[in-house]
Structures are given as structure tokens and as C-alpha cells.
Symmetry: none
Subunit: 418 residues, 2 copies
């Protein structure tokens, strides 16, 4: 089969929802006027997508993995590796990767989990740690890299490691760092015992190193909380994922506002397009994002774009803010309708998961999707929304189906058989 057209996945993060009383029993997608989204639904084929399994809430990482065709049940082993990749660490399959916070340890207890949201000097702190652990720990290589503010990532590389361990970060103040232990069920596993011991030693000796750092001396002088301990959490084993270009034979770009998804994209070797006006917040510039999508499609076979605002509104329990975020997505899609040749493109409009305003968190509800453009068989659905799309001809769309459905329309899925 030959490639007929280019492919776009356009997501409003967490855009799916549930009926909201204050919106007259409609969802934000149903309530908000969305002429562009409705145009897609009316001219395309619709369905309800369940990125993980029906009823199971998805994370941003697992949902995007499934949408990009990497089965999260098979490959997902924690967010750590994507975070670490996202901050620029060289993560290799089999590595253990952690998210970390620079925190303030005062008299043996955590007094500030974010070290006053320290903004500068964490590069020097990370360098001090890397120098201190240059010999490794028990033969395991230790690599630290700073991210924005108090955030950082840690990679452990070597034989005989296990991700079956708990966090060092207690996730609260007024208590000491947690002693890292094997998870229940892994207490007798020598690899988990060894890994826990290594992380505890990393925290302990790391604290000694950071306590003497010039950056912290300056902060103490200025009366700022010192960043004198680095606390790992959210460990994951780096999975062996084929690069996107190899897995799908497509030259793919990502335009996303979520660091974790950026990390996944880097992990997959996708091209990350930076849009300076994309803030990741309610004030993001959706037209600048849409422009970047059109531009990226000139030089790529495949683009995935995600606007974060709807998810934030869901987490904030705010239906009104979610309606405004939906309107932003609609304006971006309107721009795409006007600026792309739809005989040369096919897209899926949707969301990675639902973030119902009533919950303030992700749910496992189906996500409305509409496929529009080249090759589609427009069905009877006339407006975009949770309930209209559920009547569409694509029915229930399962985990890992999206890349096949979209690629089938674009002509990039190989025939199985003769």
C-alpha cells in the first residue's frame, strides 16, 4: 500500500467529561459552541476511544503510548524513564530512572519539598553529585540531571537492579526522607534489596555533598531554603521501545505542552517542535500552535499535537474554564480546516483521556474521537461530543487501534496476508 496522505492526531488533553449540572446536564464539549469540531464530526467518522481498557483511567504517559501504538500493558514500566529522557538524560533500555526533587532537610526532617522552588544553581548541584558519584555505587553508574525549578532526574545503570522499590520522597513535610525499601512482595528479592540500599546511600551521601555546596551557602545567606537533599521517587525501568520511525515507517513530530509526553516523544526519537507561545496553561496561544502544526506537516509524515488547557480545567473542577479551553481547541481546529488541503491529510481529533470536572482527576470513560479527511466514510454523527460520537460508525476504539485506523486511511499499514 502506498502512502496517500499525511497524518495528524490533534488532542485536547483530558477534554472528555461527564454531564455537568451547571451546564444543564451537558458536558463541556456538548455545551460549548464548537463549529470547527462539529464540522469534523459531521464530515468524518466518529467513535469512543478507550486508550487503556474500558473503565480504566489513563495517565498522560500511558494514553499517549497507546495512541502512538506502543501497548502500555506490554511496555509501560513507570514514568521515570520518560521524565529522565525529557530533561535530556541519555536513558538506555534497562536503566532505572527516577524523578527527583531538590528539597530542604532541616534537623533531619523535610521542611520544604521544593527547596523554595529554587530556580538557579541546580545545574551546579547536579554536577557536584555527578562528581561525587563518579565511581558509581556498588558498581552501578549514577547520573543526575537538573530540570526546571526544583526538579531533576536520576538514572542508575548496571546489572542486578530492580524497580520494585519505594520512594525516598515522603511526599509531605515535617518527616524525614523515607528509607527506601523493596515493595511488598519483593522483600526477599536480592536485586530490590540492593537497589534500595544504593538509593539510600545516594540520598545519604548526596545530602553530605549538597550541604557543602556553594550554591546553598549563598541561599542560606539570602535566607532562602537550601537545596540540601535530592529525593528520588517514581522509579521506572526504561523499556525497549522501537523508535517511532522504525515502528511505523513515518517521520513524526510532536507539538505538545506536557513535559512527560515530550519525554515520551524524545524516547521514541520523534521530532519535538517548540512553540514559544505555547504556555501549557489557559493562556496558551492556540493559533500559534495550529500554525506550527501546519508548518510541521510540510516536513513530516505524521504530527501529534496536544493542547493542555482542558485537562487543567478538569483538574481545577471548573466547567466554565473547561468550556473556554474547549473553545481554544475549536479555534485551533478551525485554523487547521482552513489551512490544510484535506485531500492530502487525514486527522483524528480527540483527547488522551477524560478529566471530568466533577472528579478533578482522570477517569476511564470513553473519549470522543472523529476521523476526518482523506479516505474516511463520514457517518451519521452531526456534532462532536461524548454522546454523539458514541453513535459513530467506528464504535468503541480500543487500546493501540488509533495508529492502525489512521494509517489505514493514509495508506501506511501493510497488508497481512496475500
Amino acid at each position: 500500500m502506498a502512502q496517500h496522505c499525511k497524518q495528524l492526531i490533534f488532542l485536547g488533553d483530558g477534554m472528555g467529561d461527564r454531564p455537568v449540572d451547571s451546564l444543564g446536564g451537558l458536558t463541556p464539549l456538548e455545551y460549548q459552541r464548537t463549529p470547527a469540531l462539529d464540522f469534523l464530526a459531521a464530515g468524518g467518522e466518529c467513535g469512543l476511544m478507550y486508550p487503556i481498557r474500558p473503565g480504566m483511567p489513563a495517565g498522560s504517559d500511558t494514553a499517549h503510548m497507546a495512541i502512538l501504538g506502543y501497548d502500555p500493558f506490554k511496555y509501560y514500566m513507570g514514568r521515570g524513564p520518560f521524565e529522565a529522557k525529557g530533561v535530556g538524560l541519555d536513558v538506555q533500555a534497562g536503566d532505572l530512572a527516577f524523578r527527583c526533587n531538590f528539597s530542604t532537610l532541616t534537623d533531619g526532617v523535610i521542611s520544604d519539598r521544593r527547596a523554595g522552588r529554587i530556580k538557579q544553581g541546580t545545574d551546579q548541584l547536579a554536577q557536584l553529585l555527578n562528581e561525587a558519584f563518579v565511581e558509581g555505587l556498588e558498581g552501578v553508574k549514577v547520573i543526575v540531571k537538573e530540570s526546571v525549578e526544583h526538579r531533576a532526574a536520576l538514572v542508575l545503570r548496571g546489572e542486578g537492579l530492580s524497580a520494585e522499590i519505594g520512594d525516598a520522597d515522603p511526599h509531605e513535610v515535617g518527616v524525614p526522607p523515607l528509607e527506601v525499601k523493596p515493595l511488598p512482595g519483593a522483600e526477599e528479592d536480592p536485586a530490590a534489596q540492593r537497589t534500595a540500599r544504593i538509593v539510600n546511600e545516594f540520598v545519604r551521601r548526596g545530602h553530605e555533598v549538597l550541604a557543602k555546596a556553594p550554591v546553598n551557602a549563598e541561599r542560606a545567606q539570602q535566607g532562602l531554603p537550601v537545596a540540601n537533599v535530592l529525593l528520588p521517587r517514581g522509579v521506572g525501568t526504561a523499556p525497549n521501545l522501537k523508535p517511532f520511525s522504525e515502528e511505523w515507517g513515518l517521520n513524526g513530530a510532536l507539538i505538545v505542552e506536557v513535559d512527560l509526553v515530550r519525554g515520551l516523544g524524545m524516547y521514541l526519537g520523534m521530532n519535538l517542535v517548540n512553540v514559544p507561545q505555547a504556555t501549557g496553561g489557559a493562556d496558551t496561544d492556540e493559533l500559534a500552535i495550529a500554525e506550527a502544526v501546519v508548518s510541521a506537516l510540510e516536513s513530516h509524515d505524521f504530527v501529534l499535537c496536544n493542547i493542555k488547557a482542558p485537562d487543567l480545567a478538569g483538574h481545577d473542577y471548573s466547567p466554565r474554564a473547561k468550556c473556554e479551553a474547549v473553545a481554544k481547541v475549536d479555534r485551533a481546529v478551525g485554523y487547521l480546516l482552513d489551512h490544510l488541503d484535506w485531500k492530502q491529510h487525514v486527522m483524528m481529533l480527540g483527547a488522551d483521556h477524560c478529566t471530568p470536572c466533577a472528579l478533578g482527576d482522570h477517569s476511564g470513560d470513553g473519549v470522543p474521537v472523529a476521523f476526518y479527511g482523506y479516505g474516511t466514510r463520514p457517518d451519521y454523527v452531526q456534532t462532536y461530543g461524548e454522546r454523539p460520537c458514541a453513535t459513530g460508525s467506528l464504535g468503541k476504539i480500543g487500546r493501540n487501534d488509533v495508529m492502525y485506523l489512521l494509517g489505514n486511511l493514509a495508506g501506511t499499514i501493510h497488508k497481512f496476508g496475500a
Copy 2:
């Protein structure tokens, strides 16, 4: 569960399609007047079937395997074994089987891939090869059998063989036969190396044998291209498939116009009904085929029938020809409606896959199906077609579901549990 009625699967090969501009944005199935197909849809229960997985284009072989309840992802290992079985070779599980062409080798290069579409004498050529290789090659048994025109099949039987090898047929003229090599990734596999060596030796020594064949001396005298080399391609390992009667407890017949599917049916030990008026082309006699179906159902529990014409029209990019082929299917189904007692029969009307006229090739789009007759719960669908059937009560029908859905209505699926 007791058997209540007999079962029929009636397929228009590649009959599903996409909207066609010249048909007013309708598909051929939607555009063409199809009173019999619509009667089935209105009186039955409908859905969209994906024989492989949503979005993955199916071959004729893999689609029919899935429809007959043999999971192609589990069992499919190439078309070779079905081709070989179809020409009457005794193929056993584990055998390597190839399709072959008798070709013309002139001064070391292929001058005619089909040896002037040689019609007579290939039985003698095959016999010469079988005699020449009666001792086998490296302990591997070699069996050749001619098919129609220049076509033939080859079976290799023995230990330590691998299907991870390329073709000897270069698929073009003006070049020498390809030296068979292990596929990328199998270069170091001793079985692949050995199999490649055996096939190369078969081609080389086979050429010596065929060059001296009396059939070719005659052809040379008549100025016809000689059939002096036999080129294997499309290797597959013969899978271990339970006979249809054992797998489903049904005495089954096939009435099909596709050799590859006939081969699959023989492989499964199904009864192949020959209909002399079935040409496999646009001129096929659909009423003779329908008569044969009615007759076969008198002596069988289960019949699968496939009319090839719609697929040909799709491969020819011809919506008008496809509409005519659809009308043929409609007439055949009309005959079945008139001549079968529908209190004693249940059928699924459908297709093995879509062959959209816009593509000229198979696609992974959903295939409209309608179950009609004994035991069905008619839904709200009123006409047969891609979009109406998508609203049917069966929703999306997945790989390997058909034999269960049909057998459930016929009462031949055993209860699981108490």
C-alpha cells in the same frame, strides 16, 4: 446445545468500499439498488467486521482464515502452503511450500517470467524434476507439482528448514534468477542458510534438467519460449490447522472462485464444490453459484461461498463495474432468499475485506455484515451498506468472531461453564 439449523457464509469478495465522488459520495453498496441485500439487513442483525484488526488490511487467505475461525495471527505463515495444497500437493504441517513459475532463462537472464504462458507439458516437466530430485537434497524431500499455465508448487519436507529466506523469482525480466539468501535478521540462522542453499541448488540443477526436456525441445522448434527454469517464491511453513470438521464439528463445503481460498479449504479438509459456470470473473454465473449453494446445503451443515467479481472491480479502480458486481451478488442472494427455508438456515452476508475503488487495493476498513435467518434478533438497520451496518446491533465484529456468532444462532457452539 443441539444443532437447530444449517449455516451459510456468503461473501462478495472485497465488496466493502469507501465513498466515491462519481457515485454522489456513496459507496457502490450504498449506490447500487440491492433489494435482496437490503431485505437481509432489514430482517437481520448487522455490524461492521474487521477480520484482522481495525485498520489492518487483510489478504484473501488471512481474512478467510479469520472468518473460518483460525486466528491468522496465530497460524498464518505465508500463502505457499495453501497454494501448494490447492494444486493437489500433499502438504504436511511443518513442510516448506512455495509458489513457482516456469520461466524462460536465456543467456543467464530471465527473458519471460511465464515461459509464454505455457499451457501444456508442465506435468511432464514437473515429473522430470521429481525424478531428478528423487534422492532429495541434503536429506530433504523435494516434491513439485504443476498448476494451471506456467504455475506450479514446490514442497520441501525435512528437518532443519526455515521459511526465513527470500525468493528465487526476481519478479522482473532481463536479470538472472535471484540467489536465495536468508532474510535480514536470519543471516546467521543455520536453518535459513541451509534452506537457501537447498533452494539455490534446486533452481540450478532444475535448470539443467528442464533444459534437456523433450517438451522444451518441441517448444523451441515451434519458436515458443522454453520453460527451462522453475523459480520458487512466497515461501511459507505449513501450519498445523485442525480440520474444519474437528474444529467446529461441522460438515463444511466451500464454493469459491479464488484458488488461494480453495487451497485453504482443501488444507482444512473441507468439501470443495465445483461450479463449472463460475468463471471467477465479471461474467460469472451468479445464479448457478446460488443453485450450487442451495444444493450443497442439502448435504452439508455449513457452506461458505465467495463471489470474486466485486474485488476485481475494486482492483480495477472501477466503481461502475463494482456496482454491477454488487448487483450480481444481490441476484444470487435473491435466489437464496427464495429457495432456502429460513427456519432451517442462518446466514452471514458480508465480504472478506474492503477493496476500495479509490485505492485499487485492499484496505483495513470495516466490512458490512448482516446475519439473517434462524435465531437472529433483527435490529433497526433497514438497508445493507457500510454506514447503515455500522449502526447495527452487532457493532464491531472482531477477528475470529464470525464462527461463534453464526454457530450460536445455529446452536453448534458449546456452552462454556455450567
